[in-house]
Amino acid sequence: MAISLKLNGQTHSVEAEPGTPLLWVIRDELKLTGTKFGCGVASCGACTVHMDGEPVRSCQTFIEDVEDAEITTIEGLKSTPAQAVQQAWTELDVVQCGYCQSGQIMSAVGLLSENAKPTLEEIDDYMDGNACRCATYQRIRAAIVRASEIMEA
């Protein structure tokens, strides 16, 4: 079926069967590869995108359910929390292999957009679904705290 998809501020018309995960439309049809495939079962967060500003796992979000939504991927981030997060990620050199980091950043931006000053516990709770096999967790935690400071300044 033909679907009109609002992504990063643009409307795309894509051909996809119902039941197709948004992840594969983004990666294979729109060729935006910043959103990653890690597990396919909503268990790692590598595929996290924003749907109307809220983080969702695109591997378990189906194309027929996003028709009226605004989707944002890592390539389309530009909000104030997003800038703060990317700056903090740079200052602290959070990344290692980097493969999980688009998803980590999308979740971190989601957190700071709804809670500009999260406690460490709130960070751990919110980020629990984003796995990092390189175990960059303590820098992720510190960078979210730092991003929160940047936003406050």
Binding site: E17, T20, P21, W24, R27, D28, E29, K31, L32, T33, G34, T35, K36, F37, G38, C39, G40, V41, S43, C44, A46, T73, I74, E75, L77, Q86, W89, T90, D93, V94, V95, Q96, C97, G98, Y99, C100, Q101, S102, I105, I123, D124, D125, M127, D128, N130, A131, C132, R133, C134, A135, T136, Y137, Q138, R139, I140, R141
Partner: protein, 728 residues
């Protein structure tokens, strides 16, 4: 890319020179990929400079997060005299004559935490040689003696002259590079050892532009997924794709020539996965493995309870066992370590395309370029120079991307061979493929008896190890198997840096139950756990402090003992050893691996029944000259997390020959809330740099086990949650 492929002059030079290859005199030039018209000049195989002064380091190690893109670039920038902002990097093509790992011999590849160790002098010399020819060129141009010139921040100046290096690149490329350029004295280092140097690969990894092999989107490419036998040794008997044909985007299915699976070709990844789901494959399991983990467990336990196959210490076990029998106190434990999957975050993938001249290009997060290079040349019946390897970012590896069978690249090649080669083939593994179709850290068992005298000193140590050899029967055998003993099975036990009078160690190989492979820190994953648990248990039995007990047994004057003593004291001091807050407990472990020395103190709260919480890990590392201190810290953090996460709750189990676990829900990764804080301290050293990718892992799990044992049971079988430990 003409710059990288038309350098026969370098090849010739490489043959003439063994260590650092510094051949100047060939100056191929070409337009830069970014569309800039700047001329770029290779000053040597590792340094390329554009007329606008942009320096590019050619990085021979792949980047899986462990930091060589930053580290090797730092070495060039330091010796050349440019800032980190003025230097870019790109990954080297496959060419073992130029880019071999000098620790591996004639093979280009990454592993064993050798990237910095084998590159330190080579890349510094490359940077220094480039500096010297640039200074010579400036000296000629200005008619000023070289001795009066300096090169700093990309600018050459002296005797009233001043100009950026770009101006001299063309002239420099015609000069002969010095064989032994002057290297900076460590006191002159500005970048090496500088904690403010930032990672070079951060920018593309935070905005989605970093290209991993999984991100290949070539025009007209097909995606291939493979339906593999569920048991090792199984083969494809037949398949029925009538339902798969209903999947939109399905192209075809075909049995691989080696019958190791059915390749499903489709227009995109989702169609390929769907079509595979719909495919009905019958496997021939007559030769397949049918054992379960329980069978392997029994076999391992039997092996450590009988006379070992190999006597590693070449001494009389009966005599040592006798001495232990007569000791004042005896501590005895039996340990079990399960199979573990690597599960790098990026599932395995690579893409093959044909070139116009009849060759092929492999796009891959290539850990050992030489292996797929040779394998593809053989499969496609092509001369080596018609096969190109383009190394992309790798989303982790932990050892998985370097297999003796070159497994996933060969699969892609076989899938490509079965086509007319007009469309690129991208092979994709799913997470289920990764967890179930793997190469695993082998299961191991150890049984150890330690005797103590009345003063609490060790008088005998009887240590038996059993497990499946990683290297035997593979092309890697020559590297690690000597006199029948695979040292990857026992590294960390023999030789031990501890002064232990009367130590016996023996090994028994068990017959292969599954495909096994090095897994971040290889044999040390289990040997450190056993050595450090036993040292702890012995200290407790002796009524001595675990740190003091270790120091006493490291009191000799070998370099290993001194450096282990250094990190152990440092970690203990920084952790406030012995002064844990109320209700908390500490555990310590110290271990040498890959030439580096690491001590860790784990501090926990809670207890095994109500939930143990890892509050803090304090780490001290001595890896020689710390080139990029912040990368070293990151590797310690990552190595500790990797070790602890798996010890807490992960294992791969076989049932009737099949792997039970499928995906992250039942092979649960470490999560953000699992570890409170990690603090790393680096020993200032002037020794040559050694590895950091792996050495953080070995002490982590035993330090946790020792903390748990401080107020509860000693965990001797992993994972810990299966042994009754709950985590908060």
């Amino acid at each position: 890319m003409s710059v990288l492929t038309s350098r026969r002059g370098f090849l010739k030079g490489a043959a003439a020179s063994t260590a650092a290859v510094l051949v100047i005199g060939v100056a191929p030039s070409g337009a830069m990929a970014a569309g800039s018209a700047a001329e770029t000049t290779m000053l040597n195989p590792f340094v390329k400079i554009a007329a606008d002064g942009t320096v590019t380091a050619i990085v021979k190690h792949f980047e899986k997060g462990q930091g060589p893109a930053t580290g090797l670039t730092t070495l060039i920038a330091e010796e050349l005299g440019v800032s980190m902002d003025a230097i870019e990097y790109e990954f080297a093509p496959s060419n073992p004559k130029l880019y071999n790992n000098t620790a591996f011999g004639p093979i280009q590849g990454t592993g064993g935490s050798t990237a910095m160790f084998n590159s330190f002098q080579q890349y510094r010399k490359a940077g220094a040689a480039a500096r010297e020819v640039l200074l010579q060129a400036a000296s000629h141009a200005w008619d000023v003696p070289v001795a009066q010139l300096t090169l700093e921040d990309g600018v050459i100046s002296g005797a009233g002259n001043k100009a950026p290096i770009g101006e001299f690149v063309a002239a420099a490329s015609t000069l002969t590079a010095p064989e032994e350029p002057r290297l900076k004295d460590p006191s002159e280092f500005k970048l090496i050892g500088n904690a403010n140097v930032r990672r070079k690969d951060t920018p593309p990894k935070i905005n989605g532009t970093a290209m991993y092999a999984m991100d290949m989107q070539l025009d007209n490419q097909m995606v291939v997924v493979i339906k593999r036998p569920t048991r090792r040794g199984g083969t494809v008997a037949s398949f029925d794709d009538s339902t798969a044909k209903d999947v939109k985007g399905f192209i075809r299915a075909a049995t691989l020539p080696n019958k190791a699976g059915v390749a499903v070709y489709a227009e995109n990844t989702w169609a390929a996965l769907q079509a595979r789901e719909a495919l009905d494959v019958t496997f021939d399991n007559t030769a397949a493995e049918r054992r379960s983990s329980e069978d392997v467990y029994k076999e391992l336990m039997a092996a450590v309870n009988t006379a070992p196959e190999y006597n590693l210490t070449k001494n009389d076990q009966a005599e040592i066992a006798g001495a232990i029998d007569k000791a004042d106190k005896v501590v005895e434990e039996t340990f079990y370590f399960p199979l573990l999957a690597h599960a790098p975050m990026e599932p395995l993938t690579c893409t093959i395309e044909a070139t116009e001249d009849g060759g092929v290009i492999l796009h891959d997060g290539a850990q050992m370029p030489t292996s797929p290079h040779a394998a593809l040349a053989q499969i496609f019946q092509l001369p080596m120079e018609k096969v190109q390897i383009k190394t992309m970012f790798a989303g982790g590896s932990f050892g998985r991307r370097a297999t003796p069978t070159v497994d996933y690249q060969v699969e892609a090649a076989l899938a490509f061979v079965m086509t007319d080669r007009t469309r690129p083939v991208k092979l994709v593994w799913s997470r289920e493929d990764d967890i179930t179709g793997g190469y695993y850290r082998p299961a191991f068992a150890h049984k150890v008896r330690v005797g103590l005298d009345a003063d609490g000193n060790i008088v005998g140590w009887d240590h038996r190890v059993a497990g499946q050899s990683i290297s035997k029967g593979t092309p890697f055998e020559a590297f690690s198997v000597h006199d029948g003993v695979d040292h990857l099975s026992v590294e960390g036990v023999t030789p031990t840096p501890y002064s232990i009078p009367g130590m016996f160690a023996g090994l028994t190989d068990i017959k292969p139950a599954t495909t096994v492979l090095w897994w971040r820190s290889v044999g040390h994953t289990h040997t450190a756990y056993v050595m450090e648990s036993m040292m702890d248990a012995a200290a407790v039995a002796a009524g001595r402090d675990p740190v003091e007990f270790r120091l006493a047994h490291l009191a000799g004057d070998t370099a290993d003992q001194k450096r282990l003593t250094g990190v152990l004291k440092l970690a203990a001091e920084k952790a406030g050893w012995g002064n844990a807050e109320n209700g908390r407990a500490q555990g310590v472990a110290v271990h040498k691996s890959f030439g580096s020395y690491v001590a860790e103190v784990v501090e926990i709260s809670g207890d095994t029944e109500n939930g143990v919480k890892i509050e803090k890990v304090t780490c001290a590392v001595d890896c020689g000259i710390p080139v990029n201190p912040d990368v070293i810290k990151a590797q310690m953090e990552g190595g500790i997390g990797y070790g602890l996460g798996h010890a807490m709750r992960d294992e791969i189990t076989l049932e009737d020959g099949e792997v039970i676990q499928q995906n992250f829900p039942d092979y649960e990764p470490l999560r953000i809330g699992d570890i409170g804080e990690i603090e790393t301290h680096i020993v200032l050293s002037t020794e040559a740099p050694t590895g950091v990718g792996e050495p953080g892992t070995p002490p982590s799990a035993p330090a946790l086990a020792n903390a748990i044992a401080a107020k509860g049971p000693r965990v001797t079988e992993l994972p810990m949650n299966k042994a009754g430990v709950t985590f908060a």
